[in-house]
């Protein structure tokens, strides 16, 4: 196997983990919850005991992953027609087992937006699963219902789907397990009384990694290669040169990843993410770029790549967008800043233009008096405006209005009240930026004349 192939294998495997298409190698910090959820499902399958539970936790803490992992393990144990909706790899497992002891129905509150749709989807998934066996139709197959975004199901009219599911689970007519996943901590309160009373009130919580080391472990796991990723057969029979190069590559790659985590700058980037949000996905997002850059020429992850992509994901995109504003738009923003500083929080175009005009009048007067045109950096081509004294010029209202509208379009300004009729010059607006952000833009702006910068810095 050439290095190129190995790199492309590694890339595929890692990006699949980053995109959460394949499951992580190990569960970190969720062992307890995992055991409980797995036990619950197993009891349903083995002993036909109906059950219901909720898994609550903030986004990105591994609720869905937990359930997927549990299902995968059950599937390995019992065999199922559970055609993985996730298209993940069924590594060395032989899935052609005829025996299957349970069925799984996946629902997501975002997709099945009402009960009718949900029922249809249940039918579809059950009939598809039913088709593939066809054998003894009398047997009672346990069904596991996974309700992702559980809180959205609670918003369906009358909550009849939930009512019926919980009712079946409670009345022990048919062995089912209902597992709800939600990021709303108050999801239980959303249930109607009759629904709530049928729920088992079992809930498990997932939390973001509390400890920096756990966080690092999760991150590291995503980047480390495993033998399966590189298709290294564990059979002793298959040992060949291919095998050896692959193994060497894996060792080297993993070594590099480990040194990466010891790198000072890199840890700073990770620490920052951890301190800000403890979200594993934020780290994953950071990794996509560097992983995508892996190639034959640079087959290993380098810390410098992460600095760059860390910076890229961190920049305040608003300031970035503002860098592209024209001088006129910038002037209008500064005028707005001055208005806001005078506690005129909602304003219309006329007011802004008036403020802008005041400044320009002043600037032109001062410009002609001190003849400081040189400080305004009139380029060789810019001399056309020399009739005005400076390359700054007072724009006509129509042009300024266009610029103002551009700011509205970029949603830096928002209408203060809901749609109001009347000429658009007079519609009241609010600004969606801080005064500090505006000053920041002025500082970073590529070619902002000193007069304008001074105007921006002035208070009141």
């Amino acid at each position: 196997m050439s290095v190129e192939e190995l790199v492309s294998l590694a890339k595929t495997a890692i990006s699949a983990r980053l995109a959460e298409r394949s499951l992580p190698v190990a569960l970190v910090g969720l062992e307890e919850q995992y055991k409980k959820v797995l036990g619950l499902m197993r009891r349903t399958i083995e002993t036909g005991e109906s059950n219901s539970c909720l898994i609550l936790g903030p986004r990105g803490t591994g609720k869905t992953m937990l359930v997927r992992q549990a299902l995968k393990d059950l599937e390995r144990q019992f065999g199922t027609s559970y055609q993985d909706e996730y298209g993940e790899d069924e590594d060395d497992m032989d899935v052609d087992v005829v025996r299957k002891d349970f069925m799984v129905v996946h629902l997501n509150g975002l997709v099945q937006t009402d009960d009718r749709m949900a029922l249809k989807e249940i039918m579809r998934q059950l009939s598809r699963e039913g088709e593939s066996e066809l054998g003894n139709s009398n047997a009672q197959y346990p069904i596991i219902f996974i309700l992702d975004e559980f809180d959205l199901f609670a918003q369906h009219t009358k909550q009849s789907l939930l009512y019926n599911l919980f009712d079946v689970a409670q009345s022990a007519e048919w062995p089912i397990a209902v597992i709800g996943l939600t990021c709303r901590m108050d999801a239980l309160e959303l249930l109607e009384k009759r629904v709530k009373s049928r729920f088992s009130h079992r809930h498990y919580y997932t939390f973001p990694p509390s400890d920096y080391h756990d966080y690092i472990d999760i991150c590291k796991n995503a980047l480390l290669l495993t033998p399966a990723d590189l298709e290294i057969q564990t059979d002793v029979m298959m040992v060949g040169t291919d095998h050896r190069t692959a193994e060497a590559f894996m060792k080297e790659f993993n070594q590099r990843v480990k040194t990466l985590f010891e790198d000072g700058g890199f840890s700073k980037v990770v620490q920052r993410i951890f301190d800000l949000m403890k979200d594993v996905r934020a780290f994953y997002r950071l990794c996509f770029g560097p992983v995508a850059e892996l190639s034959k020429e640079s087959p290993y992850l380098r810390a410098s790549q992460f600095y760059e992509s860390g910076l890229q994901q961190r920049v305040d995109n608003k300031t970035e967008l503002l860098k592209g504003t024209s001088l006129l738009e910038l002037s209008l923003l500064i005028a707005i800043k001055h208005l806001v500083e005078r506690e005129v929080t909602s304003f219309n175009f006329e007011m802004v233009y008036d403020e802008y005009k005041d400044f320009m009048d002043m600037a032109v007067v001062r410009g002609t008096m001190a003849s400081s045109a040189s400080s305004l950096g009139v380029g060789s081509g810019g001399s056309i405006a020399s009739s005005d004294g400076v390359s700054l010029r007072l724009y006509k209202k129509a042009v300024a209005l266009k610029a103002f509208e551009h700011l509205v379009e970029a949603e830096l300004l928002r209408p203060a009240d809901s749609f109001s009729k009347g000429p658009k010059e007079y519609r009241m607006m609010r600004v969606m930026l801080d005064a500090s952000q505006i000053s920041d833009v002025v500082l970073k702006h590529r070619d902002c004349p000193t007069i304008v910068a001074r105007w921006a810095a002035r208070r009141g």
Binding site: G87, Q112, L321, G381
Partner: protein
Amino acid sequence: MATSPLQLLHEAFPGRAKQIDQILGFMGKPWAATPPSLLINGNSSLGKTAVLKATLSAMLGGGSDSGSSSTHIQSEQQLQELRRRLPSRYAFLDCVECHTPRLIFEHAIYQLRNPPPSQDKGSIIFPSTHTPTAGMSEKKEATTVSRKRKRMTTSPLDWNRCENVNDFVEWCRKICDTKDELDEFHETHGNHRVVSGSISKHQNETRYLVLDRAERLRDTAPTLISVLMRLQELTGRNICVVLITTIVWEKFRSKTGGYEPIVLNFPQYTKSETVAILRKDLPAEEEEDLDLYMRFVDLVYDVFQRNCKDLNEIRHLVALLFPLYIKPVKEGKIQKHEGLKLHRHIQAYFVEAMDKLYLREISSTEWSDRTLSTASGSLSGGSGSTGGGAGGHVSAAPGGDRALTTALDVQNVFDLPYYTKFILIASFLASYNPPRLDMRYFAKVSSTGSKMTKRSKVAAAKKHGHDSMGSKLRQQLLGPKPFPIERMLAIFYSILDEEVEENVNVHTQIASLVSLRMLQRVTPMDKLDSIKCKCNVSYEMIKTLAKSTRFEIDKYLYDFS
């Protein structure tokens, strides 16, 4: 190889090499796992749509028929051929066009089930793809639509109904699961050895769903965004959603949160990049003027770049002004190398264009027609005195001015009956003056002495208004206030010197002003008593009206500047 698709792309988009590489990096091999979602943001006219479209079509749409096909290895050629024939790997939707979820779903399904839009050879070249979003692209869209229609009737795959997210997710799975010759091709050929292993049994090629102007999605269906962000997870297939937008991601976040996309920012073009793009705009037949053109582009950039960041606007300006710039050269009046003279000649037009920046009051063809015709007249007079420098400058300007202002004059020419003008003036006064001052302004006092005091009072009020912090809250800036019609009539009778007897006619005039939208009725139509109106007319227009009736409006306005 001199003409690999990648190099072609880099050449077609100056200054976007890094972004193209990034996008390609995220795409990876056709079957590789991609990030679930990407968000491309940047100001308008930075080539977001064009770059993505060209990249996708070059990589997944069978590319362009580059002349280099002979240098391609045979399997490569075969691949291209397949790509052109088989269902497209990407769907490119504009959220303005697809303004309901259903339209998005159905268009996406349709595009993903049919071959990619055929690419003619020229399409990869910059000017045709990098169209201004408003103007030319519409025409192009129209043609694609008609092409779509045609295909719809001929192709066996017809339009599929898809009304909700549930169906859409199901469709996505179905589409991604259909294995076609392309996927088999990968498997049979060496380059896909990897996937034919055990990694995944039905890992077909990645599908891309691109949504242009995605900011519209928020109005379309708020929950749709979070669905799209995790479409990969929901379908469990290789599908990547790309949003293109001019606003920042923060504005998309929903209350409950959700999966966050990877943000890719398109930065502003630098000067050299802008010039390189403009270089491509020079029509082929004027290739011999390249030197002159580049000098001109440089000039335009230096003059306009501070105030005009929009690349399309600069291109528009260049296209408009270049003919004017080289006209004297073509006529033999100025030699090519006389840069200073040429510069002076074009200056007047620059000043004018600066005033009209972004406005596009008249279409560009109209503009060039008019300016060329008028300029030839005025220039012949002006060029004689170019030696005098300033003289040439001044005389050239009015010619152009005339051409441009004609469009504006429509507003001023607009004529109304005599009394109606006064009604409009009266309502303007009623809208902008505080009622408490009506007594002072409009009470019939004849003595000149009192007039003096009135004036001084107004001046004092003005001064006061400017000193206070709240000078920004004066009525002129706040806009028109509603007024009862009776008050306006009182003002009307007061400012009109003669007697008007027919009250009925006045009311018809008011009604016609309302229907002209110069007055705006704020009370509901079914309420006949105590009607209130607002004056919708600008100060400039009222001033011209007042001038035409010889009415000194400034004397009667409170706190205006």
